[in-house]
Amino acid sequence: MASRPQSDAARAIIGAPTAMVDAPRKTSGAGAYTDDLAVPGMLHGKILHSHLPHARIRGVDAGAALALPGVRCVITGADAPTAYGVLPIGKDECALQPDKARYIGDNIACVVAESERIAAAALPLIRVEYEPLPAYFDPEAAMAAPAAGWLHDHRPRNIEKEYHHVFGDPDAALARAAAVCRNRYVCPAVTHAAMEPHATLARFEPDGGLTVWSSTQVPYYLHKTLARVLQMSMERIRVIKPMVGGGFGGKSEVCPLEIVAAVAARRAGAPVKITYSREEVFYTHRGRPLQLTELETGAAADGTILAVRARVIQDGGAYCGYGPVTLLYSGALLGAMYDIPNVRWDGYRVLTNKPACGAMRGHGTVNTRFAFEAQLDELAERLGLDPAELRRRNFLQPPCRTVNGLRVLSYGLPECLETVVAASGWRERRTGRAAGAPPAVNDGRGPRRADRASAPSRRHGLGVACSHYVSGAANAVDRADAIHSTVYVEAAAPLPAPAGGASGGGAASDAAPPAVAVLTGTAEIGQGSDTMQAQIVAAALGLPLAAVAVIAADSAITPMDLGSYSSRVTFMAGNAALRAAEDLKQQIAAALARRWNCDPEAIRCLGGQVLGPSGQALSFAAAVAAALPPGAAHLRGVGTYSPPREAQGGDFKGAGVGPSPAYSYSAQVAEVSVDEDSGQVTVHKIWAAHDCGRALNPVAVEGQVIGSVWMGLGQALSEEMAYTRSGQLANPGLLDYRVPTILDSPPVEAFIVESLDPEGPFGAKEAGEGSLAAVIPAIANAIYDAAGIRLYQPPFTPDRVLRALQARAAAPASGQAATAGQDQPETKPGPASGPPPPSPAGAPPQAGG
């Protein structure tokens, strides 16, 4: 059963809008991010990156660089030759490449100097002898490359991994479908663009131990990887995560600078800090891959979805990283939000000479979800159904298992959909696309400023789409039996009362010291994990929030947690924190039950007191003192979390990815208008409803939903990693990689739906990622409603939209949607993926491929 807040005190904390516990540190500037740190004797590292996309390294001559005054040492691949990678099957990269560069930006050497300026000045003095190799920037071309063009010898035809999943009989089901849509979707790569660039400071201690401060979402994986590459025991290494300015997945695996700083500190005999430039953040990437999706969905005349078939190619870039996981997510969650009995999915993860991809908010699911939800809109039109109604007719009936073995217990999708349909005025305001229909709605604000002079009347359109996401992966990447999270809650013996007593007034009494400390390995990256655990522990122990101190992410003192990724922390660490608090409470209750001669179950923690069944009462501090074993200084409650076996999925190849103890759900409606002269799209409003189980902190949930919608809006409208024909990332900076500005950001109205998950802490599940995917198809579908064009490739930039409008105008009036400028099924790649001439000279950049 769901743990529900039992007491008034708990209800005052759980579900109450709560300021982040680290807000004072952030808003005052007192908190330190990694780049803010400095230690005595600290040196600065700067990494030399490859300027060639694919080349054998014949030699590195650092003589001239070493001769520059202020340069202490130069390290190369030979200094850290042990390969690593986040997956057991993908340990294919070195912090500095010893023999081969695989993309423009790959890591070759590191200069350590007395200042960053000196290190930067030394970089061009390093002579690297390269032997160029043929390079591939398009995944389909890379799959046909001769052996000289294979990035890794152990990956023939540059296929990192392929999977083929068949559930039910999709071919037969499609053959009897009343309507089948088939399309090819191209989603170019996008990246996280977190505000804080990656930074690491590494210091060897006099006793030979290593301390590393790093901007990471995964201190535990960093800890293990440092031990592996530096060949030290984990006990000799201490990893500390300072404040982190956003991750979004970009810091969810070990990044080269984290290893390089440690190796450099060992070589230099002094602490070394490395902070990436923004350009280096782009080269480190680990973001959402370019994905080619051939998708086919068939439904019966009543709208029942009979089957879906998908062929997915992900362009993974130069290294494995999370690759197979990203790929498997694109299939595992394809058919798992609705009741789809027949699914075929073929997935290919391909290596190309571009920055490596990885996890990014909505990991692996976003591009497939865009394709599927956009295709549902077409399917609804073919069947003459309202797109919201089509979705309604295909809801799961939980508790249930999807066809690919995912266990679904709580399912707030129906309420999410009803909420946004009602709030947006969907039924009244969406006319459905009919030629010559009048503008559906007019918000009175008119078109954007530059067009105000004489823009034609712009018709508004509405589009709907849904999405979902895991509340943590049920299977850890490296160990099937892993404990996913451990949390300690400690209460120390109270200090003696200060001399002078309470009458002394003022200073001591106002700032009562925290009553308990939460020790947790979770990585607060701005998402609110410290606040969440403080709330849970406070609620469980009947304490005010201010009585709980959170100590997090220092491997020397906090227990293990897998990290902040896959939206796992609230569900998993939240449960561990709840169990740790309950363990502490049981210790107190057991002791007081003996004293009060009552049933320990009858003892409650409430309002800073511990209460017995017959009016007995002790302050929490006095109760802790009473419960301390002789000689003990503190009580420690321990809580752990591992996902239940029933939530860990099936046993087919690749079944490990997708299972989660619980899933979040989102439904959204977007309102847009299209300037039909210029192709410019304006998003006027997004209504977003998210089922997070229970909103432990509603203001944090709303922030996550709005942030997810906004990030999806960027992928929908303006964000894209564009590459030149010679494999350069054309826009490695925040001027040309265009995240939306506030002027491009419509109002987002967030609605919280609480389905009370039976296994979540107080019923909670994830809130930070599931709302991202829906916004892209919601906008695409709204563009169709406004302008009658189907778009198969985000971002929906004005040039792409104008080409589609022109094709619509040129198309015969068949009633079919215009699709020109956008690829259609069965044919070969679209504009994003021409053949890859590995030409030395530049040529105009191409989207995506």
């Binding site: 060639l52 930067a120 530059a450 002079a453 826009n731 265009r738 500005t741 950049p845």
Partner: protein
Amino acid sequence: MSLPSFQLHRPRELAEAVALWTEHGAAAKLLAGGTDLIPSLKQGLFAPDHLIDLGAIAGLTGISRAANGDWLIGAMTRIHEVAEDPILGREFPLLAAAAGQIASPVLRRMGTLGGNLCLDTRCLWYNQSYLWRQSCGFCLKKNGAVCHVAPGGRRCWAAFSADTAPALLVLDASVEIAGPAGARWLPLAELYSGAGDHPLRLGRGEILSRVRLPAAAAGMRGSYQKFRIRNSIDYPLAALALALRREANGAVTARLALTALNPAPVLVAGLERCLAAALAADPPDLAAVVQLVNRAAKPLSTSTVPADYRREMVLIQARRALEACLA
């Protein structure tokens, strides 16, 4: 990310700045607001031994009126002051519109009018780091001999992308140039060379010090049309300014200029005659005027946004600006 090392000069008099600039020549750079120069220094596009900061010079800022009624704007006047000055906004709304769409509010508080007019040309293949430029072979604007935009040619096509230049061109502005031989005035159009790799036609030691707006241009109708992907921060990808006045006798005074499409801002020649002919028809036939713009615009692949789309945009802008000013 560190700046390269240089010696910083902060002259208090314009003459002192001219003397330093004359002395150090190519080994120096002028710093106005720095919003474009500083990122370029970090990217290694310049490695000056000397940086001459114009920010401490008295008399280079402010908006004033000359005896003959012309308007004078100091080169170091911040862009937000130009955009938000109420009197300037009433007399020259076009200039306020163009200045008000530059970059973002924070950058407009740093950037200066003179800096905007002297903005370096921009190109996908140029505004990049050393590593990036090395990876495709250095281009002829910086360290190299090839042009990645027009690989056969020897000309640099980097796009001049300032917003205020087309507005000031159509308002018939002139600029004061201080130099070792004293000050001279020249029409704004003559400031620009048309070559992407050395866009300004200035001699050694010369500094743009003031902008003059003729009283005759006050009160003209204007339209500034700017295309960019985001509604803030972005440089224009195609933009157009039109100033127009219908005289009492029915004649039309009109000027139209483009930016972000060519290596210099372009004052479209022959507009008035063409427009007069267009207006003689009933209803007015603007196609020939749009065609004039089409011939003047030379967008090339200097950006990730396709050049052919930028061309289509400027034609839409021309039509919209004309319709707005003729309405």
